[in-house]
Amino acid sequence: MKILFDRIDEPGLNTLEVYERRGGYESLRKALTMAPDEVLQQISDSSIRGRGGAGFRMGQKASFLPHGNMDKYLVCNADESEPGTFKDRELMQKSPHMLIEGILIASWAAEISRAFIYIRGEYDHQADILEAAIAEARDAGYIGEKILGSDHTISLVLHRGAGAYICGEETGLLDSLEGKRGNPRLKPPFPAIEGLYHGPTLINNVETLATVPHIIRMGGKEYAQIGTETSTGTKLVSVSGDVQRPGNYEIELGMPSREIIYGLAGGPFEGREIKFWFPGGSSSPVLTAADLDLPYDFDSMAKAGSMLGSGAIIVVDDSHTILEVMHKLVKFYAHESCGKCVPCREGTRWTLRMVQRIQAGEATPMDLDIMASVQEQIIGNCLCVLGDAMAMPVGSMVAKFRPELEAEIEAARERAEGAEMADVIPVGVADEHAGPYPVH
């Protein structure tokens, strides 16, 4: 079943003409004939859970916003920076009007009159397309004062970021949108109470908002029929890494993971086996080949000790060592930590040095225990979850691949020692002094 990806490759879908020909903005018209509460009820009925990572119910989040006449804001989080995630990119590039329509409906439901799209600065092409689409929609009267003869007044501004992973975190994003360094804020107050410019703010992911027109079109209850009971609807899954056909796939939530990785993405290359996989971006604890038969939905992933996250599956096959992936992962979080909270700032750097220590052959198996305990000290001790996002996968790697890591520590140590011996002992002398210590 294709909802978001329905004929997504149709040429010109990014233009208003084609989008309208396909019935675009009909949901907006329908929503505007309804009262905001009714629209919100439809969204709540659909039980749609946020597609950005946390999986919080959108209807519930929107209902936290206070009622009444005040400056309220809607921010669309298009700062898609989670490693392995690229679904919003394809959606914005190919069907920008779907997102705009979703924003217009969601802002009506929560009685918001100012909306922003925060797109990551690297998505230059996608931002250009969105900007053109917003201009088209404005000219056609979908954005502006009292749109389509209703009481809904809305402005929509596209804001380009400048490359910082932390700006995908909702409060970091708000600070960045206010023109500051993107440091996360203390919660509570949550953005729904006090967010952008201290006003109540609804923040949703691109995919979540793009689904809203379809919820209105189908009706919330009907949409809730798709997927599983607690994970309703379809989800865009970005499959990448060691698979034959990496790309975005729209699946019904609850599809077996094996079917996604093997059926849709073609599975690993000839003669290779899946070693482990990240089910929801690089921030999710890793799962192994034994978990492949789990249904892919929010609860099953949580039950398996991981999370669905942004729906980015990264597959790693047996040609790669666990240490190599861990190094890349930790380096990324050490680079992207904003530096506000000590456990994250020091913890990520410290873990990186620990990994480098293993690579240099200076580590002992006890270091793995220390590493695991450091991860535990990061989790839950910072303003945002960037530190947790490194600690959880690293912790799971140490727990699940300890024998391999120990073997690597040993191998690296032998390598380093071998290099040392070769440096010190002149050729021919080695045999005579075959003791455990290098000869000086």
Binding site: P11, T85, D88, V157, A162, K180, G182
Partner: protein, 261 residues
């Protein structure tokens, strides 16, 4: 960091880029001064772009990032003069803007080559050989002062891994051999590796392809802006990369596709 090394920034001692770093501080002076509009000259197009950006937000400070983007385009990097100019127009202190500029990866706080090649070396790309490509790319651009090759965190295009963003244009999947071609294309001012650009890539989902039957092959004449659906660049007969592995297409659709080329 650039493969060719950064151009030297004037240093005033102790590695400081600020002249007067060792002067005694005047405690009676306001530490955060906004540059005087009467003294700081701002190019008119830059002033206009910043003013337009400021008008979009309820709070003018929100325009800091767009304004710095504009200034960087104008000056090539966020130089002290560029920061001063933005500060003048936005009526903010240069210190505030420097704090913002140093936070984000895309702002250059040291002078660098004009053209950027960002090679993604994050997990998904490195699993498929991004590190080898990055090395090849660095080597290929070694003696080109116009190219700034750096590794970048996940650029959000793992479907074309390993990939790179060349002046904002996403290309992939790349082989180490492509590095030379990229440098050649950039030197000649051509579109870089056009047949590997992300914008022409079709959706990988086989379900989408099946339902695609109700529209014909893309027509460039009609869809100038719509460059997203496997559409060939003008005069291009190269194979579209398409989804990485072949996806079975209905016979008539395949025929149509062949006709269009």
């Amino acid at each position: 960091m650039s493969a060719i090394g950064r151009r030297e920034v004037p240093r005033f001692g102790h590695g400081s880029r600020v002249p007067g770093w060792d002067d005694a501080v005047d405690l009676t002076k306001d530490p955060a001064t906004i540059p005087d509009p009467a003294v700081t000259l701002v190019p008119s197009q830059l002033r206009e772009r910043i003013a337009q950006a400021m008008a979009k937000y309820p709070d003018r400070r929100s325009a800091a990032i767009p304004a710095l983007h504009a200034a960087q385009e104008e000056h090539g990097w966020c130089s002290p003069e560029a920061i001063d100019q933005v500060a003048t127009v936005m009526q903010l202190t240069p210190a505030y803007l420097t704090a913002v500029a140093t936070f984000y990866d895309m702002f250059k706080t040291v002078p660098m080559a004009r053209h950027d090649v960002f090679v993604c070396t994050n997990i998904s790309c490195s699993l498929r050989g991004a590190d080898e490509f990055f090395e090849a790319m660095q080597k290929a651009a070694e003696d080109d002062p116009d190219l700034n090759v750096r590794s970048f965190e996940c650029l959000g295009a793992c479907d074309i891994a390993p990939m790179a963003s060349v002046d904002g244009e996403y290309i992939g999947p790349l082989e180490p051999d492509d590095a030379e071609r990229i440098v050649e294309d950039m030197r000649a001012g051509r579109t870089v590796l056009e047949h590997k650009q992300l914008r022409y890539r079709r959706c990988a989902d086989p379900g989408v392809q099946e339902e695609a039957g109700d529209f014909g092959p893309p027509d460039r004449a009609q869809t100038d802006m719509a460059d997203t659906a496997g559409l060939g660049p003008e005069g291009d007969n190269v194979d579209r990369p398409g989804p990485t592995a072949a996806i079975e297409m209905p016979a008539e659709e395949a025929a149509e596709e062949n006709d269009s080329e």
